[in-house]
């Protein structure tokens, strides 16, 4: 795992609870009492008529749907080795709770991916420090 080739995120103070949650295999979303959860993490509710700075972290179910996707044939790390070669799926997942996030879909044949396919989260511990939220078909 130490030689993970992909690009790694670096948390900010505001996003640390999100990345810490993933490390514990929990998908935590910043949540406004009035408007519900949002993505990506910000220390306030990004609804222009709300802009509430009282945010709580709530755990998402990890279930969602493929909102849209592409199948990349580019050898972009970490999909640049013999055992992890393109093509691979980059998808926008619509979580059951509403927000959308980019991820990868773990699927044997990328061309079996469909829009609105049901998926659930897979916690990919890519290094000792970083866990990426990925998804697989249900």
């Amino acid at each position: 795992m130490a030689d993970y080739a992909g690009r790694l995120p670096v948390a900010t103070p505001e996003s640390k609870p999100y990345w810490d949650g993933l490390k514990e295999h929990k998908l935590m979303l910043p949540t406004c009492d009035d408007c519900g959860p949002h993505f990506y993490p910000r220390p306030f509710c990004p609804m222009p008529d709300c802009f509430n700075w009282d945010i709580k972290w709530t755990q998402a179910s990890g279930k969602g749907k493929v909102h849209t996707f592409v199948i990349s044939h580019q050898p972009i790390p970490p999909y640049n080795s013999e055992d992890n070669a393109p093509p691979y799926v980059i998808a926008v997942i619509e979580l059951e709770e509403g927000p959308r996030m980019m991820s990868n879909l773990i699927i044997d044949d990328p061309y079996q991916t469909t829009v609105d396919m049901d998926v659930e989260i897979v916690f990919d511990d890519v290094t000792d420090e970083v866990t990426l939220p990925k998804f697989k078909p249900v």
Binding site: T12, S72, Q74
Partner: protein, 400 residues
């Protein structure tokens, strides 16, 4: 809103001497050469420039490099449509008296990478929430909305392929176009292509094959703007700004509100129509930024040229010419002349292509386009996105 109509004109417009592979030129040298060519086109000296607008460079970098000290600057750098936005801002600046002669410059070593800054912070939203999923530049991100559009409206890859073929047909009439017959031999992929050629080309990132993607090039372009009162004092016929709009809708493509509609296109387009007092039916010629085949389809829909979801069949409509040749909807001889320079797909794409779209609008309005001149162009629209449908800029330009 209509107070900007016909108050400011573009009096100079030009690219760098060449476009394509220019490893002997840096980013700033491309800015400077484009500036020289646009100023020469207008017959204005550099010393008269007192407003400077640029993207992909801090205005101070370009000002210092050129040796000028402008009293108005704008470094709006939001991707390919930055230059449409610059024109809009230059109109306001000239009307306000902030400057008299505005120079807009673009230079980008997009292919050779000579002083081409790359990559963002791993702590930025993009670094945290998109980059870790192996996105690799525009082909893997600009493609993200497409399959949702296919799903909602039945748009197909065959539809998109017609846009590539039509745009190549224009490139074949433009001696400057990188993939046109003048510059590139058929065995190296130049010259005419069919929709089937597009579908048969190498897969880059489904749903985009190679020929759905723009070329990658070095180059630059520049514009010179002055007030309407002074516009007739210069070498070429003025091209007036009738309307303009801009918008910032999102930044990361995953956060696009609706992947089948570019909110920025609609906001910028509405402002442009309102300020010009015109609608889509009044536009004779369109330059719709085409980083990929899908990009102009979204523009045609969101700017009101075709109802939402009907862009695919619209662009795939063909007719047969007098010699039995296929005439594409947006190609030479078609009913919807679009991207007549050969587009980002087949003419040139440096990374921030919007400048070249504006230059072609100016040339069509002046009637300078030779073999590719569209008859009776009096009103042209130049429109583009910045980032992945993230920002937008729209210009409505006219020759009277």
């Amino acid at each position: 809103m209509d107070q900007i109509r016909h108050k400011v004109a573009i009096v100079g417009a030009a690219e760098t001497d060449d476009l394509g592979q220019l490893p002997h030129m840096s980013r700033l040298a491309l800015h400077a050469q484009a500036a020289k060519n646009a100023l020469d086109d207008a017959g204005i000296s550099l010393g008269d420039v007192d407003g400077l607008l640029c993207a992909g460079a801090i205005p101070n970098e370009v000002a210092e490099y050129l040796g000028i000290q402008p009293r108005y600057i704008d470094g709006t750098s939001v991707g390919g449509c930055s230059f449409m936005i610059h024109v809009r801002h230059a109109v306001a600046a000239i009307m306000a008296g902030y400057c008299d002669v505005a120079l807009v410059t673009h230079g980008e070593s997009g292919r050779s990478g000579v002083d081409a800054p790359r990559g963002g912070s791993a702590s930025s939203p993009g670094g945290q929430y998109e980059a870790p999923f192996a996105i690799g530049g525009a082909p893997t991100t600009f493609s993200i909305p497409v399959l949702r559009h296919f799903h909602e409206y039945g748009t197909t890859k065959e539809h998109l392929a017609h846009i590539a073929a039509a745009t190549r047909a224009w490139a074949n009439l433009n001696p400057m176009a990188m993939m046109g017959s003048h510059r590139r031999a058929p065995e190296r992929g130049g010259g005419p292509i069919t929709p089937q050629d597009v579908l048969n080309s190498r897969m880059i990132c489904y749903p985009f094959n190679l020929l759905d993607c723009c070329v990658v090039a070095d180059g630059g372009g520049a514009l010179v703007l002055v007030s309407e009162e002074r516009a007739k004092d210069y070498a070429k016929d003025p091209v007036y700004v009738l309307g303009a709009g801009e918008a910032a809708a999102h930044w990361m493509v995953s956060q696009m509100r609706d992947h089948t509609t570019a909110d920025g296109y609609r906001i910028a387009g509405e402002a442009a129509y309102k300020s010009a007092g015109l609608g889509p039916q009044d536009i004779d010629h369109c330059m719709f930024y085409d980083a990929f085949t899908f990009t102009p389809l979204m523009a045609a829909e969101d700017l009101g040229f075709v109802p939402k979801g009907e862009g695919g069949p619209f662009f795939a409509e063909t007719k047969t010419g007098p010699d039995g040749e296929v005439i594409y909807k947006s190609g030479p001889g078609g009913d919807f002349p679009m991207n007549t320079n050969g587009g980002g797909l087949s003419y040139c794409h440096t990374g921030m292509y919007g400048m070249f779209a504006i230059i072609e609008s100016v040339r069509q309005l002046r009637g300078e386009c030779g073999d590719r001149q569209v008859p009776d162009v009096n009103v042209s629209m130049a429109h583009g996105p910045g980032g992945m449908f993230a920002s937008a800029g729209t210009l409505i330009l006219a020759n009277a």
